[in-house]
Amino acid sequence: MLESKISRRGFIKASATTAALASAGTVGFQSWTSEYVKAGGQTKITEIPSTCNGCSSKCGIIGHVKNGRLWKLSGHPDHPYAKGKICARGHGYATLVYSKERLTQPLKRVGSEKFEPISWEQAYKEIGEKLNAIIKKHGPEAISLTEDPRASGKIYSPRFLHALGSPNYYTHHVVCSNSRDAGFFHTLGVTSTSADISSSKYIMFIGRSYGDAIRPSSVQSLVEAKENGAKIVMVDPRLNNTCNLATEWLAIRPGMDLAMVLAMSHVLIRENLHDAEFIKNYSIGFEEYSKELKKYTPQWAEKLTGISADTIERIAIDMGKAKPKALIEQSWRGAFGCNYENSTETGRAVALFNAMLGNIQQKGGSIITTKPELGKLDPVKHPSPKEPEFKKAGQDEFPLAYEEQGVATIVAKLAMEGKMKAAIYNHSNAALGYGNPKYMKEALSKMDLVVTIDVQMSETALLSDYVLPDVTYIERDEAVEGLSGKTPGLALRQQMVEKVHPKTKPIDIIYTELAKACGIGQYFNFTLDGLNEQMLAPTGVSYKELREKGVIMFEDKAIVPGTMPELKTPSKKVEFYSETFKKAGFSPVVRWVEPKVSPSGESFRLITGKQAIHSHTQTANVPILMQISKDYDLERIWMNPARAKKLGIKDGDMVEVKSSEATSKVRVKVTERIHPEAIFVPSHYGITSSYLKTAKGIGFGFMEHVPFDFEAWSGAGNIHEVIVTVRKVRS
């Protein structure tokens, strides 16, 4: 008789009746499949409203779920960004849920790019111990946390950090909109306005392209404006895809946007087309600014921008005449989110130009948005951790940077100096996207503890000591999200399917459990549902109702055009003259600032931008999206034919792009659509993590060429201050 020496570890558990049931058998796969498919018609499909995570817009989506699996996605008709539509990314990103290239269990690094699976308990214990050891030795100011914020993260991440006693909470804005935010915040009291595009008559975009960084409603509003006969001017060194909808393209020299806005402001005053009434009632310091503007004539700007003085004059005058239904769109990264040394000042000049048009809070103008009033956790039952005793690192160096967002790359700089000892990265590929990857890698290696929370093995995760697997957005509930806009509203991300990988966890749970391991569990004595109930309390909307609808808009609380709110600037007015800037050591009025570097006759400025099918680098590994890049060679750099000819480069040739930081090989798209001084490279490629098999090896990473740097005003990444040379090489 057979007697196995091997101890049986069989893990299938049979119930008492299994043997009996098994002896009767059941249906095989083929007949099961046909039954399954046939029955599919009658199977109940649950529709769960939620929000997309394909990009930072978080459009409303509806997940259709069948037999416990995700089945279909559609746009949420009520969501103000989606308006019932989903873009290519939104469809494609859902692939992530069932992807095999996900993080499935907590990992501990045991060598260079080598990891060992560990239990959550071990991960929590070790991370907690290390954090506490660092706090003991270096103080809580040596700990930082950075994220690309989502609804839950916005609440849990800073709370966790504050509970540890550290103020060092950062967001991705350092390579997004830090400059614009600083410029706007100190001028209008908000980091951004919202453009009332569809009602506007004259719209100028500076580097921003609705068609390349899509939010369905934005594109629709621009189409609407065009149908209504609005003038749409696109200021961009490259003819971006939105130019189809534009009436005019101004092919500006990269980095010179400030000169153009200053000259247009000059013309506005010269022609007496500024809104004197608005300026008188709602602003301070206009005199000083207008004095400064005197020297910025269109002729002066023509030399810098390459745009004729006539054109600048014509547009400024036309915009002045169309006011207040005329505006410069505020943009995000665009051309002045974090691009040049003069970007903060460009942001300020744009905000001020809009103010001069008197378009603030006007139909067809710039809207200071409103947000729903959300509740907070009960301070008695769930006391908040006390405010950290220290200032956020980077605040001394960059006092103008918007405090809530901070300057995330300061973490790397301080790590290099040995002052920052721990960094937690949540939903953030900082090592590839925030600063020069070589610099970031070295900086991360200098810290005692790096923890990454993500769904994929990103480049940052690869450099981390611990990698904690998040669930995807399809598999999690999140905190209630307040939608700000002309009409305030609420949106909710909800779990559509049970989590695929049992050992993944949503961040609310990760923080709650990690907090316990760190000895600060008392600050997380609530559940996500409990938090949401309390957040919703003042809105009059029940959690149940929000769960059913996914999106609720407060139409009755919509902004009434024409009423100017009290601004959150020190003077409570628009600040043409800023004491804050003066205190920080900068000119109190906007002045022309040269970009840091400029190309010679031989070299180029490397500029970047988005493509409609990708979102940063997070969608690069999605096969259905990356295939489009492959089919249309979208990873190529753009070069003007005049320059290409001189270099002996033809369309499709392989070239070497060389900067002070790196050398890359890539193919060229020779096109009239780009300024001769610039090379354009899309910012979605150059994935190096071998865990991301679809994405790896396609194109090059823009940031590899960007020297690690801070813009003096806002600390932003100066991502366009890059000079490269290009030469043809064999492929």
């Binding site: 057979l2 196995s4 020496k5 091997i6 101890s7 049986r8 570890r9 069989g10 893990f11 299938i12 558990k13 049979a14 119930s15 009746t17 299994t18 043997a19 049931l21 098994a22 002896s23 009767a24 058998g25 059941t26 095989g28 796969f29 083929q30 099961w32 499949t33 399954y36 498919v37 599919g40 018609g41 069948k66 037999n67 699996r69 995700l70 089945w71 279909k72 996605l73 469809h91 494609g92 859902a94 692939t95 069932y98 992807s99 095999k100 499935t104 269990q105 990891f115 093995m457 695929v500 990988h501 049992p502 050992k503 999605v622 096969p623 259905i624 865990y691």
Partner: protein, 206 residues
Amino acid sequence: MDQQDEKKLHTANLFSMLAELYKDPDMEFWNDFCNNKLLDQIKEELSLYGETAQWEVTDIPTEFSSLKKMYADSLGSQGVAIPVESLYKQWTADPSCTLPFAKSKGYLLGDPAMHVKFILNEFEMEIPEEYKSTPDHLAVLLELLSYFILHAPDEFTFHFMDDHFDWLEEFLLRLAETNSSPFYYQMTKMLERLLEAVRKEYIIMA
């Protein structure tokens, strides 16, 4: 006990031992594995199937750490070939599904997994939590097969073999890509041959 039943016992035992090989190796497993204990037993049982199940392993790990590494490089979640059926088959046959990957290979919890879930439900069986997203993992499939050989009607067992092991060829192609040890490739090659031999016997029985 008749001859056929005894052979079934051996075969079932063989599959359950093979199932062990596809699980993430732990210390307990290593104790059974080291000094060729497990492989010798498998070899012994394989003699039942004569030449069809002939088999050669060239690179038997002698250290627990090297076995662990081999597993991670070959079958682990970052290995060249994850032994999960859904990854090698079209995700779903349902034409109404409009997800971007509905007809693609390479995604978890596809129709094969749903079928295994269905079988587990029908038979009131349970598998460990960590296999929840992969009920069609080779280790689970082999254990189920082992169980069915002993407890289910032959026809059903035969169909189960037919339905859930037809992806091994593609799996082997992936395994062949490994730069690491050929150990798992050789094991799986043998498994494939063995399955074919067992399948043939079932055809005769039916």
